[in-house]
Amino acid sequence: MGLREYVIRRVFQLILTLWTLVTLLFILFRMVPGDPTSRFVMDYPSDAERQARIEELGLNEPLYIQYIEYMGQLLQGEFGDSAHYRQPVSEIIFPLFLNTIVLMFTALIIAYTVGILFGAAMGWFRGSRFERVGIIATLVARASPEFWIGIILVWIFVFQLGLFPRSGIGGYGGELTMNFVDRYINFDFLRHLILPALTGAIVYLATPALLMRNTMLEVLKADFVEIKQAEGLPERTVLYKHAARNSILPLVTVAAIATGAAMGGSVIIETVFNWPGVGREMVASVSRNDYPVAMAAFLLMGTSVIVMNFVADILYLYLDPRVKYE
């Protein structure tokens, strides 16, 4: 089987997976009791008004018709209108999505940079006190709930040191703009970004660190490491230039999937730091039975995971010629 055929087959699988995801989501959300009007029951003067709203939303149609309509809409690249905000879903999700991406990418970049370097060092110094303390610290970080790390950071940096603001993405009352540069490239935003990004980084750091250490242990047994050492290269060069480089492969998959999942944001970090991101909206829209928004948010996250997984598979082909497509 050629590369071309492999990619085509994978794309086909991708579409199938996405379709299954959409269908499952569609059914799951409709299984939950209530509909978008439940919340307002007490505010409608009579049931007739509420029924009229349900009809307006098309929720009185048989489920398969609603499904066909939704799929048709989706194929045209539209998520529909939010039942709650009465605005196109894209208008609501987009700014939140952007906030999430900025936060999560910062967290992931810190986590993977620090994690990889740290993991490589742990593997290199196997058996040392450094490694033992390192593993314990990593495991503690990994086992700690996100909200707890967040609260500890808040307690130290906000209430004890007074260094950073407690929550939000900018000083209250500032200019509200969708211009990317004005919005994210400024000192005030950075001050708000640090604590939530750090929380995320601490949580996500464990996976790359531990994985890197394990792969390093394998690689260090390889002959070429010994040869490089025999060549008299400095320890640091052998560690980071040769051993670490060869250990990084499994991390590609993990990093790709983590990136995909990160698109969905972290409900907990966003809640603790009042970060206006897509994760919080996901939970809120589910509890309000706002199907179009909930579907879009989950779909976005699911698609990211699936696509990034696909990207990782393809990347593998280039990064490691030993990997065969079959």
Partner: protein, 565 residues
């Protein structure tokens, strides 16, 4: 046992069928484990069926969840079997309020100034016309004699006569216990006392109150006040179905003809004076202020008023009913004349006090006013709209040309997680909070001398509905006995740490003019509950399980105590 079946929604029907099958299954099982009468000397009737008790999860409402647990334990101690169904907010409303699938339902009503007039709580929530799915009379209380008194309350224009009816209605409701009123929850909202010299918490609303935003006094150098609330506003368009937080900000941007004052009485606002009502009570003439403008500088005219009332009548799901009795609206110079089909005691408080005046020159170009907005939200209210990013913040500023300009120059509304917002108060990043902190947070906040606590009483209440559509809740004595199992004082003092007050009537004690303090009381007294049941002939088997009297007849139950004979 009959189940309401919805014809319009197949999914719901499916879920209900499952529910019905479940119920049948339970009944069949109960039959298998019937009591062995031989061992017992007492002659007993059938077991009282399991009580299906719906109450909020601890995530949805921690205080009421705890209360739900206490009530269940009391009921079990008394010999009832309780099916505890803890539900989140939406599922609870769907199951109990819409599908009416409950035996007991622990819930509550919020109170805003419109609800200070006893009409809503006494008529809407107890009249037989509102017992349908999603209706406000969730208990299914259908008492023809009470209907008469409730209708009279809505029509009576003489204040003293109306007051007597209101007192009597409360007595009846307490006797009949179609719903056990538990407590007016009240609350306390924190604010930054360094940056705000004074605040003005409103009845039932605390710092969310209109008069707080108008009269809160910032310190000298403070030109921007931030206000935190646990959710963002969904919409500022009154033509949509709105929640309370939406209304609380819409009313800052738009002016009605009359505003509710702090005691809930509609007082002239855009109107110059009280409405001139014709002798037969069907014509209301209102004169409006001259020279007041919208935020864009255009003058507010009677044409705008007429246009707005017609717009609301056509589109607003919430307010259209208030205008259904309006036959005709005419303008005459600065006067606007409403012609009603018949006299209506509530027209002033419902329509004149709640319909906002929109700029005709903007809204006449909007084809679909429900789904399209005026994105600048031009009104004539004391605050004007500046900017808004969902989930981030909303920015308003003082409308300097208003006839009653507020003290706050710039008002920023910040939505977010409650705990984060409480922290924001503690780190002095926001100035006011419109939600109740938890008891632990209150203790912490009280230690900080820079933080003030605004106490306020509630208009709304927590209550427990009985589903009188089901046979076993038809007996008034059984309902009264169950009400005795509700520990109201414990709820207020222990669970809520002293926040709020116990109530026995739908009209809050804080509304002194309408509250009747002299009605039947129920408050966590198991002996009284047992006595009530014994007197009504209920018996217990050797396992302590409660049974109907031996000669029980479903068709011959006394549903109401309030009816003579």
């Amino acid at each position: 046992m009959s189940y309401a079946v919805m014809t319009s929604n197949s999914r719901r029907r499916f879920l209900q069928t499952i529910g019905a099958a479940g119920a049948v299954g339970t009944a069949a099982l109960a039959g298998c484990f019937g009591v062995d009468d031989d061992e017992d000397d007492v002659e007993v009737g059938d077991e009282v069926p399991e009580l299906q008790f719906v109450f909020p999860t601890s995530g949805s409402n921690p205080d009421r969840n705890e209360l739900g647990g206490f009530i269940s334990e009391n009921l079990e101690e008394l010999g009832f079997e309780v099916d505890r169904q803890e539900l989140d907010f939406d599922p609870q409303i769907q199951q109990a309020t819409v599908d009416l699938d409950f035996g007991l339902n622990l819930s509550g009503w919020g109170g805003t100034p419109e609800r200070i007039d006893p009409g809503i709580f006494l008529y809407d929530m107890h009249h037989s016309s509102t017992t349908g799915e999603g209706g406000r009379n969730g208990a299914g209380y259908e008492n023809p004699d009470y209907d008469e008194i409730a209708e009279a309350i809505m029509a009576e224009t003489d204040q003293e006569a109306r007051r007597e009816l209101v007192m009597e209605a409360q007595e009846w409701l307490a006797m009949d216990q179609s719903r056990c009123y538990i407590a007016n929850e009240g609350g306390v909202h924190p604010y930054n006392a360094e940056r705000l010299e004074s605040v003005n918490p409103g009845l039932g609303e605390g710092l969310n109150g209109f008069w707080n935003f108008m009269e809160a006094e910032p310190a000298d150098d403070v030109d921007q006040v931030t206000f935190g609330y646990s959710s963002d506003i969904f919409s500022l368009n009154p033509m949509q179905d709105l929640t309370t937080p939406d209304r609380q900000f819409i009313r800052l941007l738009y002016d009605p003809l009359y505003r509710f004052d702090e005691g809930g009485i509609p007082t002239p606002w855009l109107a110059v004076d009280e409405p001139d009502v014709s002798d037969d009570g069907t014509t209301f003439t209102v004169e409006i202020r001259e020279g007041h403008t919208f935020h864009d500088g255009e003058e507010v005219t009677t044409e705008d008023v007429k246009f707005s009332y017609e717009l609301f009548a056509e589109y607003s799901p919430t307010y259209a009913t208030y205008l259904s009795g309006v036959e005709d609206i005419e303008t005459d110079g600065n006067e606007i004349i409403f012609q009603l089909e018949e006299p209506d005691a509530t027209f002033a408080s419902n329509a004149l006090g709640q319909i906002y005046v929109f700029p005709m020159h903007i809204w006449e170009d909007i084809d679909d006013p429900v789904n399209e907005d005026d994105e600048d939200y031009i009104g004539s209210g004391p605050f004007q709209f500046d900017d808004w990013e969902r989930e981030v913040e909303m920015q308003l500023s003082r409308f300097d040309d208003h006839f009653e300009p507020p003290n706050i120059e710039r008002l920023i509304r910040v939505p977010g997680d409650e705990d984060a917002l409480v922290d924001n108060i503690e780190s002095y990043e926001i100035d006011m909070l419109g939600v109740n902190p938890t008891t632990t947070q209150i203790d912490r906040l009280e230690d900080d001398e820079n933080i003030g606590m605004a106490q306020f009483d509630a208009v709304g209440h927590a209550f427990m509905n009985y589903n009188m559509r089901r046979d076993h809740y038809k007996d008034v004595q059984l309902r009264r006995a169950i009400s005795h199992c509700v520990p109201k004082t414990e709820f207020v003092e222990e669970i809520r740490g002293g926040q709020g007050s116990v109530t026995h009537s739908p009209i809050a004690p804080a509304i002194e003019e309408w509250h009747n303090p002299d009605v039947d009381e129920f408050d966590g007294d198991l002996d009284a509950a047992r006595e009530t049941l014994e007197d009504a002939g209920y018996v217990w088997d050797s396992d302590g399980r409660i049974h109907y009297p031996p000669d029980w007849d479903d068709d011959d139950v006394q549903m109401f105590l309030s009816v003579d004979g």
